[in-house]
């Protein structure tokens, strides 16, 4: 983490809960999420679809459809204000101004009926009050910034005239248009080809050095997170199960779900002989209309104890782990893994 | 032409996905539950039922002979003896409304039945055969759809001669292309489903796949369109009768009653109000029922 502890965090989420009303009852998508984000910090949030990773940031900024979506409790402090208590009009000044967004699918997330220039100019005019000429000049600079060649000729083109990677660059240009303090990238590389993914990740890292904004990078792909984040946060069934500095979490996972995610990643650094078979996590996430009372991952977890099924463990400092490495687990994963390894050693 | 010509508003062809799901057991019950949960659909169903009952039991329900003239009741104002008043030759308006339901509902049902029984097989062939056959059928429906529904019906009625039977025939033929196109689109969607692929791979002959595997899955969409088309057909029959090309006097028909009534609007407004209201209620009921069926059959499309 960057920044000293005396400065207030850029973003302070406390006990955020979100649900969606459906015919089958309320779906509890986010169940009490708390964390902080320092200025300039990059936080990677990992989880499968339905983990609440995207929903909770959209809910913070009033971007979930309401109804059926509903923030049921919590506070989100940003720049000295609780975003959840702000009237829509004031929240609009934050969205696209102080907080920029990059969404998943650049094909569907850009307006097919508006030229690229019109879409980049929009936040500049809304938040910075620029006139059309100045905003257009700025839009061109932004296309340069996201490394789109021949910007002059491309400003008046429409999204369908751009390639997938270029469209995502345009999305990033829109997200960064007003030099936000925080950029939220929601599955920003998921829809792209692998080579393009790497380009976009590299671009965002460069821009972060140039602009210095904080980033929340939401993805289901641990690999992307490893390359870009200072801190990683693992979410499951609307809760944070583990969170910590990126190296510590990868080296020393404390939650069985994190371990499962790590084991499902191919490790290309080892030689062919050293590679292990990829493992998958069996079972399916719980029905969020009736979340289990205890640890939501317990039903799929071979290491779960009876207490896991009965009571949700709090998110707290993992014993013996790096400072700031938090975990929600009743079991001691390193000890269990050591015992397992010892048993396997005896019975080959 | 710009695409599909489905006569009624808001009838997007339902996506293929739910089609497979209707095969699961217990879904008929679930469908019935969803239909009942929509008050407007229930109202539509009840009114449609009541109107049909009224038409069927007209002999019992109607207080007078619908063609019997009564010189004491010429343009008679509504009274206890004649609650809906009397018409230009003293016939009881209420009795004519009751008997008129036969012409209106009969025309609606018969013409749509004709349109479905012609359109369904043709659409099935077009959608399943594809190629030249499909192309030829589509061009023909394009051409038929280029002649507006009522204009075609009027032209047909003109050449066939004016009568209720010919009006039904004309409306049914005019509505056929809608069902051809709907069936074809549905067949193409269903034929792409995996269970049809599976049926094909185990060696089912094409006719069997079309009749056993595809047909049952497109019935719901046809049913919705048929219900909504009955509403349109009732208006069409009333329109033709209003123009004098449908039910011939002295037999009662709501449209024909309105035609006469417009000449006596200031002296006997009840002659115009009751038949018009009857058409409106019947059409509204079928529209409510059709909308309800559509929503109940495809919960994901619900608004």
């Amino acid at each position: 983490m960057t920044g000293s502890t005396t400065r207030p965090p850029l973003l302070d989420v406390s006990d955020l809960a979100v649900s969606f009303d459906t015919e089958g009852g309320a779906v509890h998508a986010v169940n009490g999420v708390s964390y902080t984000l320092a200025e300039g910090e990059t936080l990677g949030i990992v989880g499968e679809s339905g983990s609440g990773k995207s929903v909770h940031v959209l809910a913070m900024l009033g971007l979930i459809p309401r109804p059926p979506g509903r923030v049921t409790r919590g506070k989100v402090w940003f720049g000295g204000r609780d975003l959840l208590a702000l009237p829509e009009r004031d929240l609009r000044r934050v969205r696209g101004g102080e907080i920029g967004f990059v969404f998943q699918d650049p094909m569907s997330s850009l307006n097919p009926g508006m030229s690229v220039a019109a879409q980049i100019v929009e936040p500049l005019r809304i938040h910075l009050g620029l006139d059309q000429r100045a905003a257009r000049a700025r839009a061109r600079d932004l296309l340069d910034l996201v490394r789109i060649p021949n910007t002059k000729g491309r400003l008046d083109q429409y999204p369908h005239e751009f390639s997938g990677g270029q469209r995502q660059r345009v999305m990033i240009a829109i997200g960064l248009a007003c030099r936000p303090k925080l950029l939220i990238a929601d599955e920003a590389t998921t829809a792209l080809d692998v080579t393009v993914q790497a380009e976009i990740v590299a671009l965002v890292q460069e821009l972060r050095r140039e602009i210095g904004m904080a980033i929340i990078w939401i993805t289901h792909d641990l690999g992307v997170v490893a390359g870009i984040s200072d801190t990683v946060q693992v979410m499951y069934a609307g809760r944070i199960l583990e969170r910590g500095p990126v190296d510590a979490l990868f080296r020393d996972p404390r939650n069985a779900y994190t371990l499962g995610l790590l084991r499902s990643l191919p490790d290309l650094s080892r030689g062919r002989a050293g590679r292990k078979r990829l493992q998958q996590i069996d079972g399916a996430p719980p029905d969020m209309r009736t979340p289990p009372p205890g640890d939501p991952f317990a039903p799929r977890n071979a290491y779960a104890t009876p207490r896991c099924r009965a009571e949700m463990p709090p998110l707290s400092q993992a014993p013996g782990a790096a400072p700031g490495h938090l975990v929600a687990a009743w079991y001691d994963l390193p000890a269990l893994l050591t015992r397992e390894a010892a048993q396997q050693g005896h019975t080959p | 032409m710009s695409g599909v010509g489905q006569g009624n508003a808001g009838v997007a062809a339902p996506p293929a996905a739910w089609v497979a799901s209707t095969r699961e057991p217990g879904l008929l019950a679930a469908f019935w539950g969803r239909l009942r949960a929509r008050p407007s659909a229930v109202v539509g169903l009840v009114v449609v039922g009541a109107l049909m009952l009224m038409a069927a039991l007209a002999d019992v329900v109607a207080p007078y002979d619908p063609t019997a003239t009564d010189w004491g009741n010429v343009r008679g104002a509504p009274s206890l003896a004649h609650p809906f008043g009397g018409d230009e030759v003293g016939r009881d308006v209420l009795s004519r409304i009751v008997y008129g339901a036969r012409a209106s509902l009969g025309a609606g049902l018969v013409s749509v039945l004709l349109a479905v029984s012609l359109g369904l097989p043709i659409g099935l062939v077009a959608g399943y055969a594809g190629g030249l056959v499909d192309g030829a059928i589509m061009r023909l429906t394009d051409a038929l759809l280029a002649i507006p529904f009522l204009i075609l019906a009027i032209a047909l009625a003109a050449f066939l001669g004016p009568s209720l039977t010919n009006a039904m025939l004309a409306i049914g033929l005019s509505a056929t292309s809608t069902f051809v196109r709907l069936t074809r689109a549905q067949v193409q969607a269903v034929a792409a489903e995996e269970f049809v692929e599976a049926a094909r791979s185990v060696g089912n002959p094409p006719w069997r796949i079309a009749l056993v595997h595809i047909l049952p899955n497109i019935v719901p969409a046809i049913l919705v369109q048929a219900t909504l088309t009955i509403a349109a057909a009732i208006i069409a029959e009333a329109s033709l009768s209003f123009l004098g090309l449908g039910q011939q006097p002295p037999e009662p028909s709501w449209g024909a009653m309105l035609n006469v009534a417009k000449n006596f609007m200031d002296q006997a407004p009840w002659m115009a109000i009751w038949p018009g209201l009857s058409i409106f209620v019947a059409v509204l009921a079928f529209n409510l029922l059709g909308d309800g069926l559509r929503d109940a059959l495809d919960p994901r499309q619900r608004t």
Binding site: G96, G113 | A143, I147, P148, I151, M265, A272
Partner: protein, 314 residues
């Protein structure tokens, strides 16, 4: 754009040709001897012989069609037996009246239907939405000839604000023309407005739930701009395409509306021709209606291409 236009035109031509064949084939439905039937009320053998010769009735059907279609292409729609006038002359005389009525009705339909559809999509699930849907259902279910009668009863008979019937050409007095057309246009537009409302609502709901509208909201775009600048232009394409199919409804409805309000247009020409057994006129009107419908649909295709950047640039 040009390629798109060419593609649409090549589809329209065979459609029109097939439609003309169907219309021509209607003659075959006439009971008894065609020449006798075509001569209408007349039973004069000379007239019958003239008709037999004029329509080449002694020739096989395809040959007769070729003669007829050749005439139609040269603008010869046949002769009105009743009015002793070329059908083309009658059509040219009446078509502008119906087109004016249709355009005014479309204007009414758009002015009522589109804002109502937008409102009910934006305010989905509220009372306003329910109300708008209720109005649309009313519009779809009320027979327009009945609505016409009720409006005459109210506005002409009771209030005396508007003329119950009659037509004043706009060249004579635009104000009187519009006064005479107000009720017919509203009656005719009413049902189309309901359809437009439903199409607009569905299209707007789809667009409002799209990712790019979420992007716009994430940029801080205000609601009004969100609806008018981001959502509506994208919803316009399906509204235009589906709305164009309603031209048929418009032309059908015009027949009844003209009958009720005694507007001397296409519809009235056709109905009068039907009763006079003036079949050449019926055929002429139907083929012109089909051509008008196809032309209006082409115009709508062009319009939707113009609002769609993908087609505009192609």
């Amino acid at each position: 754009m040009l390629r798109f236009l060419a593609q649409r035109l090549t589809l329209a031509v065979p459609t029109l040709v097939l439609a003309s064949m169907i219309i021509f084939a209607l003659q075959q439905l006439l009971p008894g001897d065609t020449a006798t039937a075509l001569s209408g009320e007349e039973r004069d053998p000379e007239v019958i012989a003239f008709i037999r010769q004029k329509y080449h009735l002694d020739q096989p059907l395809p040959v007769r069609y070729a003669y007829w279609a050749g005439g139609v292409l040269k603008g010869d729609l046949g002769e009105s037996i009743r009015l002793q006038k070329p059908v083309s002359e009658l059509v040219i005389e009446k078509l502008p009246v119906t087109l004016e009525l249709a355009c005014l009705a479309m204007l009414v339909a758009l002015a009522l239907g589109v804002p109502m559809g937008i409102l009910s999509a934006v305010k989905r699930g509220t009372f306003a939405d329910t109300l708008a849907n209720g109005i649309a259902l009313w519009g779809l279910s009320v027979p327009n000839f009945w609505l016409g009668i009720l409006m005459i009863l109210l506005f002409s008979v009771h209030l005396g604000w508007l003329p119950a019937s009659g037509y004043v050409p706009p060249s004579e007095s635009l104000v009187d023309n519009l006064k005479a057309m107000a009720m017919p246009a509203f009656v005719l537009g009413n049902a189309i407005a309901a359809v437009m409302m439903r199409h607009t609502r569905a299209a707007m709901l789809g667009v409002l739930g799209s990712d790019y509208v979420r992007t716009a909201r994430a940029k801080g775009v205000a609601p009004l701009r969100l609806i008018l600048r981001h959502a509506l232009p994208n919803a316009a394409i399906p509204i235009i395409t589906l709305g164009a199919l309603e031209f048929g409804q418009l032309l059908s409805g015009a027949v009844l509306t003209e009958q009720i309000f005694s507007v001397p247009g296409f519809g009235k020409l056709m109905v009068d021709a039907v009763f006079n057994r003036d079949f050449a006129t019926v055929q002429g009107v139907v083929i012109c209606t089909a051509a008008t419908y196809i032309a209006l649909n082409l115009a709508a295709d062009l319009l939707s291409a113009a609002v769609n950047p993908k087609l505009r640039r192609a």
